[in-house]
Amino acid sequence: MEQKWVVFSLADNTYGIDVQSVRSIERLQPVTRVPNAPAHVKGVINLRGVVTPVIDLRLRLGYEEIEATDETRILIASLNQGDAGFIVDRANEVVESDDVRIEPIPESSQDMLSAHLTAIAKGEDKLFSLLDANALFEDQHAE
């Protein structure tokens, strides 16, 4: 079956999320801080009348927080428990599975990311890690 991923940048890395679970890609808009929420929860936004939580994916994945730029985007993902947004540095492209080879994550990797990583996609001139958006949200309380 053909699969597609929305590929985006975080720091020097690229990641992909299944296009099926991405509802829309939004420009950064005013985020209301939610006090006493986990640090990586940036807050909530008004997404066409629906109050939607937003996560700073940099913080979530252990990168350093940066100031938003013109390229900063919010990926709105449709997850098991409702919609949520992920702040990313830049949304790059949509990649089809024909263009890449899927490889499992090296077993030796003990990186904290591996809980949310499902596989690695490798193409001629690209390499990106596939993220499980639901896992990113669901085990946030565990950590």
Partner: protein, 658 residues
């Protein structure tokens, strides 16, 4: 067209009929009312037809037997007895189970109905049941009689038409309409069975009966009707009222008061000796989804209205202001109207209690009389959907722990039969539900002892508490005082769950108890959950909304007014020392507080807290929106709202500030 399309309708109506049968069964048991037998028979008949059409054999079989048994009672051939009543009660329980199974995608064959069917059959005995069709469906009341009499005097003849549509009919109501259309050309339709409203809503099997006045001959009528396509069979006979059997005439005497509208039986009526006919308002069924969409759109609209108001204020143009003011008034009205769309009478929840009380009481050998008042009280559909279980629990608790065994009651000089009152009423913008029993009351000493033993309280704390406050401890987690663990309650799970559930609906539960006299639980619930009045405040540069319902008042305080008691900041509020909570500290906001600052005094029960904020923005209607399950459990935040400028503001849960 697929049967599945009608599943929703089938389920809805099945529920209605089950409810009606249950109500009538209780009435029959209490008063032996003949009218109740008729009602049950009708519902059983309809249930049978509906389920047979939908292919739910088990339900159809069971209702068929029930119908047959009732037909004997109805026809005066057999007396109703306790055994039949019990059989019918258990039959209804089984039908309910089967309907639930159908609702969750089953075929309704999850229950073994063999024993119940047998019980019905043994009641029916050797007596062969007559075909229902043989009996004229038209109970003769004075109204019909006089109409027929008058017609006959003016040269009309009364006919009874039995019309059966073809099995393959697609639009039953439309065909029925065409039949009526034809008939109108030839004469006048007096009555139909089922009534015209039911026929319009397709609430009939393939056949229906018409009482018809005409100067034409039976053959002409028969021919005219059979011309309508998809009509399978028409049978026209001359109608004569003398043929009626005696019991039906007796029943008709009661029906005189309500010649055309059949009163929808309610749980409340079942308890009343004197039955009052309820004129039914015309209603339509609307998919809840549509109403929710309407609500969402309207909420958006309210947000835009806020924006418009703000802009108009800035522009300051009189005509614009006037228009905005008009829109505001209009939307206010629209708002209350839209909100009532979601409102339903609590009857829907209350209806299942009489039977439940009966069976619970029977199981533990207690006698309980249930009084229901205010079943017509309306509240939000969301609340209706959620409040059932907590109430069930409270009622079970009252029967189990409140009301004593008949012997004990007698010794205490009380009526053997315990009394349980269920009341609902409106008060302000809240709905109150009370469950009151005249039982033993809560043994406060026992509760106190248990609380001390479990370390829930210290001896000093216990000494300072009133009896009612102590009794409220039964709502604490893991707290159960039952001596004997029964099947019903007393398992130590429960009342704390009840309390949590009610609180999650924005409700409050309280109780009053007097030893030896009984206990009253009171649940107060918000009328609606979605649009509330709130005070918008600033903490630092962040905007928060505090629901007006929890605000006592707002006041300005000087730094010099702050006192310190036991390291806690308090202030003197009309002679009462009230603790201060700084919203900016609570929410980790870095901001200076000026030497003079506003304080919002909020209350929870009798307790007060002063919430220190940086500024008051003003009062506003806000639409409550959930934060979503990811952000559940954030302390002191109960939800969010969208402000006029499109930004999200969080709603402060003032209950968490105490």
């Amino acid at each position: 067209m697929d049967v599945n399309e009608y599943l929703g309708l089938f389920l809805d109506e099945a529920q209605e009929h089950i409810q009606s049968v249950n109500t009538q069964l209780l009435k029959l048991e209490q008063t032996g009312s003949f009218e109740a037998v008729q009602e049950i028979f009708r519902s059983a008949h309809t249930l049978k037809g509906m389920s047979a059409t939908m292919g739910y054999e088990h339900v159809a079989n069971l209702t068929h037997e029930m119908e047959s048994a009732l037909d004997l009672v109805r026809g005066g051939k057999k007396e109703s007895n306790q055994l039949l009543l019990d059989t019918m009660f258990s039959a209804m329980e089984q039908i309910e189970e089967m309907i639930a199974n159908i609702e969750s995608g089953g075929s309704g064959s999850n229950v073994d109905v063999g024993a119940t069917v047998k019980a019905f059959q043994s009641f029916i005995g050797q007596e062969e049941t007559e075909a229902v069709e043989a009996v004229s469906p038209f109970t003769v009341d004075l109204y019909t009689d006089s109409v027929v009499e008058q017609a006959k005097q003016t040269g009309f003849e009364a006919f009874q038409l039995s019309v059966k549509l073809s099995d393959a009919v697609v639009l039953k109501a439309a065909r029925a309409y065409m039949v009526f259309d034809r008939l109108q050309e030839l004469g006048e339709v007096v009555r139909t069975v089922p009534d015209t409203e039911a026929i319009e809503q397709e609430q009939f099997e393939l056949s229906f009966e018409v009482l018809f006045l005409s100067q034409e001959s039976a053959e002409v009528i028969e021919h005219a009707v059979s011309q309508v396509s998809e009509v399978d069979r028409v049978h026209v006979t001359v109608f004569t009222s003398e043929h009626e059997s005696v019991p039906e005439v007796a029943a008709s005497a009661e029906a005189v008061a309500v010649p055309e509208v059949k009163p929808q039986p309610s749980a409340q009526e079942a308890e009343e000796v004197k039955e009052q006919p309820v004129a039914q308002a015309k209603t339509i069924r609307v998919n809840l989804e549509r109403i929710d969409r309407l609500m969402n759109l309207f909420e958006e609209f309210i947000i835009d209205r806020g924006r418009l108001e703000r802009l108009a204020d800035e522009v300051g143009q009189p005509e614009l202001n006037e228009t905005v003011e008009k829109i505001k008034r209009g939307t206010n009205e629209l708002q209350s109207l839209v909100l009532t769309l979601r409102m339903m009478p609590i009857e829907q929840v209350f209806n299942r209690f009489p039977r439940m009380v009966r069976s619970v009481a029977k199981d533990i050998h207690k006698k309980v009389q249930l009084d229901i008042t205010g079943a017509e009280t309306e509240l939000d559909r969301t609340v209706i959907d959620e409040i059932g279980d907590p109430l069930v629990h409270l009622i079970r608790n009252a029967i189990d722990h409140g009301i004593e065994l008949p012997e004990v009651r007698e010794q205490a000089g009380k009526d053997k039969q315990g009394k349980l009152s269920l009341r609902a009423y409106h008060g302000g913008n809240r709905v109150f539900i009370e469950i009151e029993d005249d039982g033993a009351g809560i043994n406060v000493d026992k509760v106190r002892a248990k609380a001390l033993e479990r370390g829930v309280l210290t001896a000093e704390e216990a000494a300072a508490m009133s009896d009612n406050e102590l009794a409220m401890l039964i709502f604490a987690p893991g707290f159960s005082t039952a001596d004997v663990v029964t099947d019903l309650s007393g398992r130590g799970v429960g009342l704390d769950v009840v309390k949590n559930k009610i609180e999650s609906l924005g409700g409050v539960v309280s109780l009053e108890t007097v030893v030896g006299q009984g206990t009253k639980f009171q649940v107060s619930l918000p009328l609606t959950l979605s649009i509330i009045s709130a005070m918008l405040v600033l903490a630092g540069d962040e905007t928060y909304a505090i629901p007006l319902s929890s605000i006592l008042e707002t006041t300005l305080l000087d730094e010099a007014d702050i006192l310190t008691a036991h390291r806690e900041r308090v202030f003197d509020f009309r002679g009462q020392l009230v603790p201060l909570v700084y919203l900016k500290e609570m929410f980790g906001i870095d901001a200076e507080t000026k030497s003079q600052f506003p304080v919002v005094v909020v209350r929870k029960g009798n307790k007060l807290v002063g919430v220190v904020v940086n500024d008051l923005i003003g009062q506003q209607e806000i639409v409550m929106k959930p934060l979503g399950s990811y952000l559940e459990g954030i302390p002191a935040i109960s939800g969010a709202t969208i402000l006029g400028d499109g930004r999200v503001a969080l709603i402060v849960d003032s209950n968490d500030l105490f």
